[in-house]
Amino acid sequence: MFSRVLIANRGEIALRIIRACKELGVETVAVCSKADEGAEYLKLADNTVCIGPSSPEQSYLNVPSIISAAEITDVEAIHPGYGFLSEASHFAEICESSNITFIGPSAKTLKMMGDKAEARRVAVANKVPVLPGSESTVTGQQEALGIAHKIGYPVLIKAAAGGGGRGIRIAHNDASLVSSMAVAQRESETAFKDSSLYIEKFIEHACHVEVQILADQHGNIIHLGERDCSLQRRHQKLLEETPSPSISQHQRSELYKTAVKLAKAVNYVNAGTVEFLVNKQDGKFYFIEMNTRLQVEHPVTEMVSGVDLVKEQLRIASGEHLGHRQKQITLNGVAIECRIYAEDPDNGFRPQPGRITVYHVPGGNGVRIDSHVHQGYEIPSYYDSMIGKLIVHQGTRQEAVACLKRALNEYRIEGVKTTIPLHLRILNHPNYLNGDVDTAFVERLLMNGG
């Protein structure tokens, strides 16, 4: 195991990784921007290095600064968390050339799976079903229109370098395709300095199901079940659960097999997630992409499997064999996660930076809280507005929903508005209770008023 690790991230996931390191006896170096300097969660790290000003580009995305911080603190490895540099192959390459272990797959894998068109080719070559769409990236309007006509509207426009729901648009006809493409390209150019897109068939009633993979450097690959992340708002996940209430046992085992097959085909190492879209009408599933990193929603998998994914990531990166064989993995009960965002529901769910004046979290049996905030915490305006995750674990879905509701009602947050009322609305909706949800459920709920 490593003796010292740098965490190239912030907020709840930085704290999540600090906790795992502490439990493994690994020293931690946290990095921070000027906006996060002095934040309380940083005090739980053994060391903190300020790496730049508040803007993410100059701090958490600032590769030279992070590498330099790693060098002056003499760490053996860097954990990138999620977002920021977690899927940046150039960062992983620089780590490799600086003799620092990047805790994640190789730069080569990151590059391959990070290029969605390339990932699609790999999937097709391995007989993994993919959505009808462009076979490689598209930049020209005529090409895009041609593909749309071939596969039929509605179509989805995705930034090749996107992630976290950014740069995704739906077009229902030629005119909206042309205008959406222009916006998507501009956005993608700004965010990722890459304006290439790809286009695929949009499925109206689909659920988003992803399979968690763990693979070591010695060729052992296992899965840890699936997560259903159909509840999204603006393509951003809001509530995730395992097992998926929308798929059959047969579909489930097909998804597991497919995910492991794909991971094996690319010699995947470390934790990864294979995302699928499942058509609720005909039950067919399609590979969307592989997330070559830890996911925000990883705790639901930890709750049902009893496997600590962050500790496993550290073990795998340090060269250890997987501690679990597939047949040793049993998935017990149901886990659901709510991502709590500081957002104003009366104002289009705009992020609400500001000071949390009152903060009290739920507790008790089956409740887990992952959060870096506290009473008096000042939410900076530069980053994600998620202030924590509430995860519950119970024997059945009905019990999990009941537990989640009572826990959400115990929250006491003042100073900023949060998405807690929205979560309660979802949980009280009869369709949610019946497991009758798809990726448009939340948008429909919001359109149906107050």
């Binding site: 170096v29 309380e40 739980l44 053994d46 903190t48 790496i51 030279p64 002056i72 506290h374 008096g376």
Partner: protein, 152 residues
């Protein structure tokens, strides 16, 4: 009493009495005084003292000196601080040296690259805050300077 004097007195009252808010409205007299909210700033226990990054030399803030309009030259990057470009050479600057904005005051090595750091201020070096060869983080004060042109 002038408005400014009133404000000053209010501020000293706040400091002396641990208040967080005072509000006055004088026409039909509206006063609002608030005590600092017992909420807590430090949410977590302090961790063990940092292992690798030693506290910078003289990094403790001197509010009195600061009031005297001293300026700080801070590190624009993370890296290792060197007072001279090559080992054994004379330091770029020392206490008493006069700087102009283009004076190179030190170098910071980051990712095997030597970066020359300029003063970006005109004045006289009052204090060197970091020892040669020590790691520095972004924004860390390196030198304290008595500006010769404009006050702080």
């Amino acid at each position: 009493m002038s408005t400014m004097d009133k404000i000053k007195e209010l501020i000293s009252l706040m400091n002396a009495n641990d208040l967080s808010e005072i509000e006055i409205q004088e026409d039909t007299l509206r006063i609002k005084v608030k005590k600092t909210n017992g909420g807590f700033q430090p949410a977590f226990l302090p961790s063990v003292p940092s292992g690798s990054l030693p506290a910078p030399v003289g990094s403790v803030q001197h509010p009195l000196l600061k009031k005297d309009n001293l300026k700080e030259i801070t590190s624009p990057m993370v890296g290792t601080f060197y007072r001279a470009a090559t080992p054994g050479a004379e330091p770029h600057v020392g206490v008493g040296d006069v700087l102009d904005p283009d004076t190179v005051v030190c170098v910071i090595e980051a990712m095997k690259i030597i970066n020359e750091i300029k003063a970006e201020v005109t004045g006289k070096v009052v204090e060197v805050l970091v020892e040669d060869g020590m790691p520095v983080e972004f924004g860390q004060p390196l030198f304290r300077v008595q500006p010769t042109v404009s006050g702080g």
